[in-house]
């Protein structure tokens, strides 16, 4: 009977997830472009040609965009996690206005990403942007920084924007994890004379390890496939310095009409995420076995 219960979900996944994925994998091995798009008899399998062309080439944008995506993801998650964890610890304490402020921090998660992207684009503008104004007023910088115009600072700017968006997600999952730690453990610890740091590193972190691992892996998957934020803020520029695998795949398919190459780039993204996904599933299974 178990099989029958699972069947609707299985069919749903086969039709709406499995089929498009399979189509995309097949498309990545074909030669569909502007000339063969509507001529099925001219579409043929070309093996790994698309992948070879994407990865080799003197200035492979795909290789660059994979590096960019890794920098973007790790940079985002590192700070999202630390700040989110700090806020989770803060909101785990009882104080007046706790629920109000916790609700208020959710705003950045509730705001549509395109809106957030536009706001940050204005804030990081070289002339008249609030970030530069703030920094010059504080005399931290002499001349305005061309945030979105210089390759390095553009990457930093989109990472900062993404950190802001992702903090509530980290905070909420970690807060949920924190509520599962029984108060008694902390009480007996204090009786034994453990200080704040010992409590944090010996009790809190080990106790919510499953939540931490979920936050990190899910955060990785969410951040790795970010598209809209970057598209709104920089469109992958300047000079491909913020080109992510997602924006590159979109550009290939829908701006240059190189459908098979776009599919191949999207498949590379999928393969990387599948590896992370497998890691996540293994982690969950290990936890369940341990229980």
């Amino acid at each position: 009977m178990g099989v029958a219960f699972a069947m609707p979900a299985v069919i749903y996944m086969l039709v709406f997830i499995g089929y498009p994925m399979l189509q995309n994998i097949i498309l990545g091995f074909k030669n569909v472009d502007v000339f063969t798009f509507s001529k099925p008899d001219m579409q043929e399998f070309v093996g790994l040609k698309n992948y070879m062309e994407l990865f080799t080439g003197k200035n492979s944008i795909l290789t660059k965009s994979i590096t960019n995506t890794l920098i973007f993801t790790i940079g985002s998650i590192f700070f999202q996690f630390i700040i989110g964890f700090g806020l989770a610890l803060l909101f785990n304490k009882k104080f007046k206005g706790n629920s109000f402020f916790r609700g208020a921090t959710m705003i950045s998660w509730l705001l549509p990403v395109t809106v957030a992207g536009l706001l940050f684009k204005f804030m990081f503008a070289s002339t008249g942007g609030i970030v530069n104004q703030f920094l010059t007023q504080l005399h931290l910088i002499d001349a305005p920084i061309d945030w979105l115009l210089e390759p390095h600072t553009a990457m930093i700017a989109i990472i900062i924007a993404n950190i802001w968006i992702g903090i509530p997600f980290n905070m909420m999952l970690l807060t949920t994890g924190l509520t599962t730690i029984p108060e008694e453990i902390y009480e007996s610890c204090s009786l034994d004379g453990a200080n704040r740091f010992q409590r944090l590193f010996q009790i809190t972190i080990p106790m919510i390890k499953p939540a931490i691992m979920s936050v990190l892996t899910l955060g990785f998957v969410y951040t790795f496939k970010v598209f809209d934020l970057v598209w709104v803020m920089t469109k992958g520029g300047p000079v491909n310095s913020t080109e992510l695998v997602s924006t590159y795949a979109y550009r290939l398919s829908f701006e240059e009409f190189q459908f098979s190459k776009g599919a191949a780039a999207a498949n590379v993204l999928m393969i990387i995420l599948m590896v992370v996904g497998c890691f996540y599933i293994k982690l969950i299974n290990d936890e369940e076995e341990a229980m």
Binding site: V3, M7, F37, S38, T127, P151, G237, V239, N240
Partner: protein, 434 residues
């Protein structure tokens, strides 16, 4: 026993699922003519149109456009009302599709068959979609093909066949803020201004918060549209980058001097115009469609327009890149309605009226000589610039060229590479396009 039952349930579900899917598919393909949010509404409209047709009523002609401003929307409505009143057989309507999604929706439309009868689109994108089989051959239609300006006309054709007609044509020219020139005691630029003189002007006009010059250098085709003319004026072309290296040098040097706004790598054409209106730019490269906006938002701006600067005293007038839209007829069994609409627009007086509202120029040689344009100082400069304007491509692979070319400009503008290196790499990238 359990397994058998499970299998039976499974099979039943698959059958139901398959039915649901095919059901959806066929419904979508014959009713839908519009994407996204408009789908339901115009789907109904299209269906009711078909019912009318079946009962001897008028046939529906659906047009897709990406016109955003009120003036453009009014122009489209006037045109459609005029067409609907001019004959009894067809009734036209139009659907707005956002520009950012336009080509994606067309691509999806080709794949799914959910398409209108006429597509109005950027001229340089048309070749790609002719290759993708979106447009049908209408060479037999009774249209005054010879009356059109050559560049725009070519962008609607492939291998000698006609797939539509140009709708509007324009190009970019040089806008200058007269007050700033007067204050600095510098003569206005004109058709004799060379790159060296232009550079001196920009330098002299650059001061606190004001850049001498700015144009659109964003990393999309919008950026290519404005930057490419510098390459052509320098002697290059979209396949011969290295001959236009002087353009790279000029851009990099002026940006390093601070007289050409470095922000341009992130600017769209509206960004450029907003900065010009706000007084942050003494000169801008932009098109005639910005004029209604300037009149509305900055009515007191004292500005002039002239052709873009030429390379040196002995060279000809600077090249500009043709912009504007085409009307393409979507390949269908019955294209008579679409062709009828094109024939209506083919009338010079209809075209002239529409283009006055739209803020662009009619794509016919004769129509563009209307007094409305030639007697207006600013409009006349654009007409003068049109004479040395060339289309992008035309090539089905234009988007790939455009992306490679604009990367080159961005490398130069951000000083990521020297002009020599950027020219070499961009040439290699362009050569690699099959």
């Amino acid at each position: 026993m359990k397994w058998k039952r499970a299998m039976a349930v499974c099979l039943a579900m698959i059958t139901v699922g398959a039915m649901a899917l095919t059901g959806c598919g066929s419904k979508a393909s014959d009713a839908g003519t519009a994407p996204a949010a408009d789908a339901a509404e115009s789907g109904e409209a299209a269906q009711s149109g078909k019912e009318e047709a079946a009962s001897g009523g008028k046939k529906e002609v659906v047009i897709w456009d990406y016109f955003e401003t009120d003036a453009q929307k009014e122009m489209m409505q006037t045109l459609i009302d005029g067409f609907n009143e001019s004959q009894e057989e067809y009734t036209a309507s139009h659907v707005y599709v956002p520009f950012a999604d336009y080509e994606k929706q067309l691509t999806l439309g080709v794949a799914s068959g959910e398409l209108p009868d006429i597509v109005i689109m950027d001229g340089c994108g048309m070749a790609s979609f002719i290759s993708m089989d979106l447009f049908g051959d209408i060479s037999d239609a009774d249209i005054n093909w010879d009356e059109y300006i050559q560049g725009p006309m070519e962008s609607t054709m492939m291998d000698g066949k006609h797939y539509g007609i140009p709708f509007a044509t324009n190009c970019t020219a040089l806008f200058y803020n007269k007050d700033m020139f007067d204050a600095a005691g510098i003569d206005y630029p004109d058709e004799n201004t060379t790159w060296d003189e232009f550079r001196e002007m920009a330098k002299a006009l650059t001061k606190d918060g004001v850049y001498g010059f700015g144009n659109a250098g964003t990393n999309t085709d919008e950026g290519t549209f404005q930057c490419l003319q510098w390459l052509y004026t320098a002697g290059g072309s979209y396949t011969d980058i290295e001959s236009g290296i002087d353009a790279y040098k000029l851009m990099q040097e002026m940006i390093e001097e601070g007289s050409w706004a470095k922000d341009v790598v992130n600017w769209t054409q509206s960004d450029v115009n907003n900065n010009f209106m706000a007084g942050n730019l003494a000169m801008q490269q932009n098109g005639p469609w910005q004029i209604p906006g300037i009149e509305k938002d900055a009515p007191d701006l004292n500005y002039g327009v002239t052709v873009l600067p030429k390379k040196d005293a002995s060279s000809n007038q600077a090249t500009s890149i043709l912009g504007g839209e085409n009307m393409g007829v979507v390949k269908k069994d019955d294209t008579s309605g679409a062709v009828a609409f094109l024939k209506y627009y083919d009338q010079t007086d209809v075209m002239v009226e529409a283009m006055k509202q739209y803020g662009s120029f009619p794509p016919k040689t004769e129509a563009a000589q209307d007094a409305y344009w030639t007697e207006d100082e600013i409009q006349a400069s654009f007409i003068q610039q049109l004479a040395t304007s060339i289309p992008r491509g035309p090539s089905a692979l234009w988007p790939t060229y455009s992306s490679a070319i604009q990367t080159g400009f961005q490398e130069v503008m951000t000083s990521a590479k020297t002009p020599e290196q950027a020219a070499k790499d961009t040439q290699a990238a362009v050569d690699a396009i099959e």
